[in-house]
Symmetry: C2
Subunit: 555 residues, 2 copies
């Protein structure tokens, strides 16, 4: 028994915000029985991952050790915690446990990927626990910006670990369970070995505000609006959607949900009993027949996503509805870093229509779903663990959170993805590094982040692409002149002749000069043609394009 | 005389922040004599302009009317006001007027492009005026985040226009002239027809703070730092650079400037007498020999630019200097929307090194160079113009600024790039729309934003690129099988065979089925091959790549 150990291994979410995936294990070294907490995605961007549809944690290590995996637990239904479940379940093959609302969403994820949705098992909140090998795991309710978030109480022969998931300390969360400090204190009473804790808002110096504080402000705003009101927020923030809808209803407005995710989330919340008393909603078709001063739309796309309802409304029309001078558009949301340009684009489009945009710069119409610095301190104090392991954050968040814990005399360590910690002793100990990274979903194919596929696409985007084509006969003699095609390059450069002509002329000269040895050798010929094409382009247009050389030999 | 009119035409900077270029004209309709105010650039991004080096306003209209252009006036030396002068001067051919510091920078821009730097003429501040056709133009000092900013007092037979340039109302600006309300009131006294006014910070509700407020805070911070201190800010913010350097000096630290722009700006400011008493600086080589607690670096790259000194320090080493655990890095700057990810990347890299990063989230270490809403109101009141024309802003800023002016009973209008206003009457009147847009500097070539070059690059980045190659003989019979090359695409998809093989097989089958009519017709054959390649890829990898078809015919 003394050779058994308790380990923690983040495969995603530690050193970044997004694609959470945390492994816990207990047993003899290298033979620990494992559980996985969360299996999320992160989103691509044009700068680093153009054309990529979704980003997953690299699950290779866990797939290689799938025979040791007892179960998967999902803390809550946000995409960065649940989004990859349908994509990896088949390769992991363990039962998936979640509370009702989360399980409802997870089953959709499974069906979307043609996976058996009965793999998702609904469990009740603490004190119910699920046995998984050496672990007993309970779902301890905690407030966040989605219903039924849970921390996990993970009991092992080596003691109790609490994995917070994402959380805030909200005692009036509108929808779902309030944070219950007494319940938490009772769970922590017998001693907690490690608190593995959300770090997102560690740089926010003031205590977080309750979801209940935004309702009155939103109500005032909507009541004063003279024409149509459109509001956007994260669809999964069911409490906010409810607050917005009720503000509309009280102002005598009919409510219309715009965007698939918005309808889907409200549906899931009603199906699972999380949401009660939601105002009656009307269809977009019916909305067209209602005077605009009596209408309120709740739209997806708070981050400026091009295909979401908000962006479509900003571009002109969505489901037959067009905004007009005097309408109001409310961002009841904050802009996630990196999405600023997309959001600003929408605001300017609305400005051109004469629509008044209200955003969160006043701080009145949105609150965060994560615990701020004083809330983290309060959480540390309530749980009073031996050690605090910061998770769910970029390196700067993890480091700051570890410093915060250490400043109060608790053991802590920064463990980024791939860092295996041994939690068996009195302090966390780095015991191993596991290779991790990112897997891209590109169309329908999973590719490794380092496969070079996306790197080549970025290079084409930066440099353009030249295709050089030559044909040689049986005797390695060129048949005609080289032929050039361009993609993403200017038609002409410094000599004011077509760039294609300039390149073909230089390539012709090269072919004329090339000796028999070069002409007979595909590698040499390709290298020579590429060099000439790229240098010729550099002289002509000041940049060296990517170059594909196609050599055809008649035989 | 009654047929003469006074016009205003923004070609850049109105409807966006960046690439300022404003035309004023006076004379008979269509024959107005013109002046240009500012000629700036804006910066590319990976999302909309991958591979583009710089973005200019489309100057076609002005180039077509260059015989009517009397002069160019530059308000101040920021890139978005001065950056395109070397690129367009040859095509415009008018004298360029600027104050000494701005002129110094402008001459460098000219020399960089092989243009005659004597085209740049140094003028003194108001009350000196420069005659330019029907106009007399004076440079009225105003505070901003670069030395020697000036508003322009543009006198025409139709009255006085004041073009603010970028400004804030700073009565203690550290470097350069303070805002002088009495001087401004005296200039406005006889009546101002139009105030053409910076709109950048119209959404900032509180009065702006003076540059002088950051010094004491920076000084405290630097004095308390135990190890090396590195600070970054915009190099052109000479006042801030001075404040930072002096804070370092007072803390007993040697100052080292890192990055070409940082050295260049300090040089220009000293050369032109704008900057006096700057602390002695040491070279990076000497900095290597100084104990780190006695060193302060001032580095370029406050926006996370990959090639700037800050990003290089974050990646490891720059000029032989490496940061270490316990060093401090200060962003004495704000992050411009769109640059968040680059800045956050640096912060996390420093975090991994154990470097403590201080940013502006506290509001202590940076102040904006633009007038906030109450400052704009004060400016309107001091100048008391007949009309306020908002400029230098996105649509949302211009609209808000116009509403602000109108709320105080002044005439206003939103005029975005290409909107020609007639200012002759009592209210601004939209009189014409001129085609405008953006010109990209791509390598050494200027291309139009709508030429499709960048669009093709974006498509390759999103979708990858397939090249299909077929050869046909004199009788239009295929010689061998089609040949496929891939760039930026996964090696295999759903069938687990190489994607190249799958495409070549499908293309071969198409060639086998193709009739003589198709084989003889390049357009039909190309269309067919492209369709097969893209559909085959879609089935295999779930995305339709860009496709280039090369048909070679032996003849």
């Amino acid at each position: 028994m003394s050779s058994d150990r308790l380990i923690y291994l983040p495969l995603g979410g530690a050193g970044e915000i997004g694609m959470n995936a945390y492994v816990y294990g207990y047993g003899p070294q290298g033979k620990e029985r494992l559980i996985l907490v969360d299996l999320g995605v992160t989103f691509s961007d044009m700068e680093t991952t153009p054309g990529v549809d979704l980003i997953f944690p690299d699950m290779t290590w866990l797939i290689d050790n799938k025979d040791r995996l007892e179960a998967i637990f999902i803390t809550h239904g946000h995409e960065d915690h649940i989004g990859a479940i349908g994509q990896f379940w088949e390769k992991l093959g363990a039962p998936v446990y979640a509370r009702a609302f989360t399980a409802n969403l997870a089953r959709h994820k499974m069906r979307d990927q043609g996976q058996p949705d009965e793999a998702i098992r609904t469990v009740s909140a603490w004190p119910e626990v699920t046995a998984a090998g050496p672990f007993n795991v309970g779902f301890l309710p905690i407030s966040h910006s989605i219903p039924e978030s849970a921390a996990l109480v993970i009991d092992s022969p080596d003691g109790r670990v609490i994995h917070t998931g994402d959380f805030k300390l909200d005692e009036t969360p509108i929808v779902g369970e309030a944070f219950d400090p007494d319940l938490w204190a009772s769970v922590a009473k017998k001693g907690v070995k490690a608190l593995v804790c959300d770090s997102t808002n560690v740089f926010s110096p003031h205590a977080g505000r309750s979801e209940a504080t935004v309702g009155p402000e939103i109500e005032k705003l909507v009541a004063a609006a003279p024409q149509m009101v459109v509001a956007t927020t994260f669809a999964s923030n069911v409490a906010r959607v409810k607050t917005l809808a009720e503000a509309g209803e009280r102002a005598g407005r009919s409510i219309c949900l715009m965007g698939r995710a918005m309808r889907r989330m409200v549906e899931a919340a009603i199906e699972t009993g999380v949401l009660k008393d939601f105002p009656k909603v009307i269809s977009p078709e019916d909305a067209n027949n209602i005077p605009r001063e009596n209408l309120m739309l709740l739209a997806t796309g708070s981050q400026g996503e091009r295909r979401a309802a908000s962006a479509q409304l900003a571009r002109g029309k969505h489901n037959g509805i067009t905004l007009k001078e005097g309408d109001m558009f409310l961002f009841s949301s904050k802009t996630i870093p990196g999405n600023e340009k997309g959001v600003i684009r929408i605001i300017n489009q609305f400005s051109e229509m004469g629509v008044d945009v209200v955003d969160d710069s006043s701080g009145l119409y949105h609150v965060s779903g994560h615990a701020n610095r004083p809330d983290l301190e309060r959480m540390h104090d309530i749980v009073n663990p031996q050690m605090v392991i910061p998770m769910h954050g970029e390196h700067r968040h993890l480091r700051e959170h570890a410093k915060l814990a250490e400043s109060k005399g608790r053991q802590s360590v920064v463990a980024v993805n791939g860092t295996m910690l041994d939690l068996s002793g009195n302090a966390p100990k780095v015991t191993e590094f596991v290779e991790t990274g990112r897997t891209y979903l590109d169309g329908s194919v999973k590719i490794g982040a380092l496969d070079g596929v996306v790197r080549d696409r970025i290079r084409m985007a930066l440099n353009g692409h030249v295709i050089v084509n030559v044909i040689l006969d049986e005797d390695d003699e060129p048949l005609g002149d080289p032929w050039v095609d361009l993609m993403g390059l200017p038609e002409q450069g410094s000599s004011f002749a077509p760039l294609v002509d300039v390149l073909e002329e230089d390539l012709s000269q090269f072919m004329g000069r090339a000796g028999q040895k070069t002409l007979a050798d595909d590698d040499k010929l390709e290298e020579g043609l590429r060099r000439v094409a790229r240098n010729s382009a550099r002289d002509e247009i000041g940049k060296k394009p990517e170059c594909t050389v196609i050599i055809s030999r008649l035989s």
